[in-house]
């Protein structure tokens, strides 16, 4: 059906355009190739039931669900998952243990003070802290990779504590 609709639209638009641009009147009724409509075949057996499955909603795709929060924040110069952030880790760990085919990248980040490479190593420590917490909650190592973006991909720009705090972070990326 949608094929037919778009064809009809293109044809109509073409007519309009040509009406604007050419003084010569063209055929009034454009020839449109119709996609042959599939007539539902007469059921051979009207007691046969065709099953329908609704698309199941992956909780990962729910923008209001707990899994929408994918950032774990850290204190200044600290590389352990703090109490207030454990819920984020637990929620994703619960999902991953139920969905063992899903894999995540844990990207550690730092604020922009200091050297690129040392910050890369510090960001790695944050990513590893999240990885270890998840492993302790039963997530298999094969589902996780802890990496670091160091100070290279700051979420917040600025030379102030608010920006720095925003960048002391590990992100869970599916």
């Amino acid at each position: 059906m949608s094929n037919f609709k778009s064809l009809a639209f293109i044809a109509a638009a073409a007519t309009l355009l040509s009406a604007c641009s050419t003084p010569v009147k063209l055929a009034e009724t454009p020839v449109v190739e119709r996609a042959p409509e599939k007539a539902a075949p007469a059921p051979a057996d009207n007691r046969q039931v065709q099953p329908v499955t609704t698309a199941s909603v992956d909780p990962l795709d729910d923008p209001k669900g707990v899994l929408a929060n994918r950032s774990v924040y850290f204190d200044f110069d600290k590389y352990a998952v703090r109490e207030s952030e454990t819920a984020v880790v637990q929620n994703h760990a619960a999902y991953l243990t139920k969905n063992t085919s899903r894999k995540i990248l844990i990207q550690g980040n730092t604020d922009d003070r200091g050297g690129a490479e040392y910050n890369l190593a510090l960001g790695q420590k944050r990513a590893e802290a999240v990885r270890k917490s998840m492993a302790a909650l039963g997530v298999s190592e094969g589902q996780m990779e802890a990496v670091s973006l160091g100070k290279e991909k700051p979420k917040a720009q600025g030379n102030n504590e608010a920006a720095w705090a925003e960048n002391r972070r590990a992100d869970i990326v599916y």
């Binding site: 890369l120 510090l122 990779e145």
Partner: protein, 424 residues
């Protein structure tokens, strides 16, 4: 041969000369400090140098002035074959005189000839004849400047070497290669993700770097001539901080494959991976020593980051830095005697040099956010990343801290410099 004359700080017309020769440059070089001992050298205008796309003598003068080691005395046009009135040059204060000529050959190449004279001893010090296509005009001039520098200071000149660095403008990151004076910029890699830690191979044909193009840091080696890229390390976790062994066969890298960042070595083709450091903390930023037998690296095993040294085969590490609580990014001079690094003192990240024999520390910058030091191949200068305004720029300082230059771009940030080697 050493000609050293005590000179008071003389402000040269260097800035003006650079302005004239560098009008097309996207990188602007500004001299902010000069040496205290300057050798007075006269550079004559080369005969027929208008045959070259840019005046050879102008490029030579700009190089020598930028080094901070010379006081330039301008000379009228003089061919290398003309008779030298030594007394006249001596009375003008010149310890040495360079003269030369340019000739367009029938095949389109330029034949550049030069001679260097010692006006004190009334003798010829050096000469060079080189023919090359006009696009190598600047290179020919840099090679003459290298020769003058070497004959008058005893140290090999680095004017004909190149630098590589990363620019960031909006979402675009570029790895660029330029001549040491910021001219002749060529783009080696363009990416929408960060590029860090470029490192020149000892033969100058390849650059190793870390690219984030695959959502994580991976170490590549790129052949600058053939464009071929090789993944040197893409282990699980982060792959970073490449640096070449002096013979160019292996790289030291920092990997997190074993759960935390440690130092490994790997062949330049990605084979033969071997773990070298073994601590429970962070070990990163490995750098081979000049003799290739040890590796300097940054470690937080004592709390804050400090610089250590260990054998290339691993084992015990010796702590090298003790001043301050945060010392990172070790780089070793080609003679193995000086260590450059970044130290945080009173909240400022600044460039320091450590004399390894005496343990004497020297602060070389007075800026607040310095990073990524890199020695010139003759060990006389250190290029590093710094900030001017809120933009990232590059700076060069002599190892004695006296000569200073700043390199800025017209727009965007420029960082992660690495100074290339001498090339054949």
């Amino acid at each position: 041969m050493m000609i050293m004359k005590k000179m008071s700080y003389v402000v040269l017309c260097a800035g003006l000369m650079l302005g004239a020769t560098g009008a097309q440059a996207q990188l602007r070089v500004e001299i902010t400090g000069i040496g205290s001992n300057q050798i007075p050298v006269a550079i004559a205008n080369f005969a027929n140098e208008s045959a070259a796309p840019q005046a050879i003598s102008g490029i030579i003068k700009a190089d020598l002035a930028r080094s901070g080691v010379f006081k330039i005395i301008d000379g009228a046009e003089m061919s290398e074959t003309a008779p030298v009135s030594y007394d006249q040059w001596k009375s003008r204060g010149a310890d040495a005189l360079a003269a030369g000529s340019v000739q367009a050959l029938a095949d389109g190449r330029l034949d550049v000839r030069y001679k260097l004279f010692d006006t004190i001893k009334s003798t010829q010090l050096s000469s060079m004849n080189n023919a090359a296509a006009p696009q190598f005009n600047r290179l020919l001039a840099h090679k003459i400047a290298d020769d003058i520098y070497e004959k008058l200071t005893g140290t090999k000149g680095a004017f004909s070497t190149r630098i590589a660095y990363v620019t960031q403008s909006g979402r675009e990151y570029r790895l660029e290669v330029a001549d040491a004076d910021g001219e002749g910029i060529q783009v080696a890699l363009r990416s929408n993700e960060p590029i860090i830690s470029p490192s020149w191979s000892p033969d100058g044909t390849k650059v190793a770097y870390v690219s984030f193009e695959k959502k994580k840091p991976i170490v590549y080696v790129q052949n600058l001539v053939t464009r071929q890229r090789t993944i040197v390390s893409n282990e699980k976790g982060s792959n970073s901080a490449p640096s070449w062994s002096p013979d160019g066969t292996r790289l030291a890298v920092a990997l997190s494959r074993d759960g935390h960042t440690q130092v490994y070595t790997v062949n330049a083709d990605g084979s033969g991976l071997r773990r070298v450091s073994n601590s429970s903390g962070i070990d990163t930023e490995p750098q081979f020593s000049a003799d290739g037998q040890s590796i300097y690296f940054t470690s937080d095993r004592s709390g804050g980051p400090q610089i250590y040294r260990m054998s290339v085969s691993g084992g015990d590490a010796k702590r090298v830095t003790f001043g301050g609580s945060y010392n990172i990014s070790p780089r070793i001079a080609s003679d193995g005697k000086t260590l450059a690094y970044i130290s945080r003192r009173d909240g400022n990240f600044q460039l320091y040099a450590l004399d390894l024999a005496s343990g004497q520390e020297l602060r070389l910058s007075d800026t607040a956010n310095d990073e990524s030091p890199s020695f010139s191949p003759n060990g006389k200068y250190i290029m590093y990343a710094t900030e001017s305004g809120r933009r990232k720029s590059l700076a060069v300082v002599s190892v004695d801290g006296r000569v200073k230059q700043r390199l800025t771009t017209q727009a965007g940030n420029i960082k992660e410099p690495t100074w290339g080697p001498f090339m054949k």
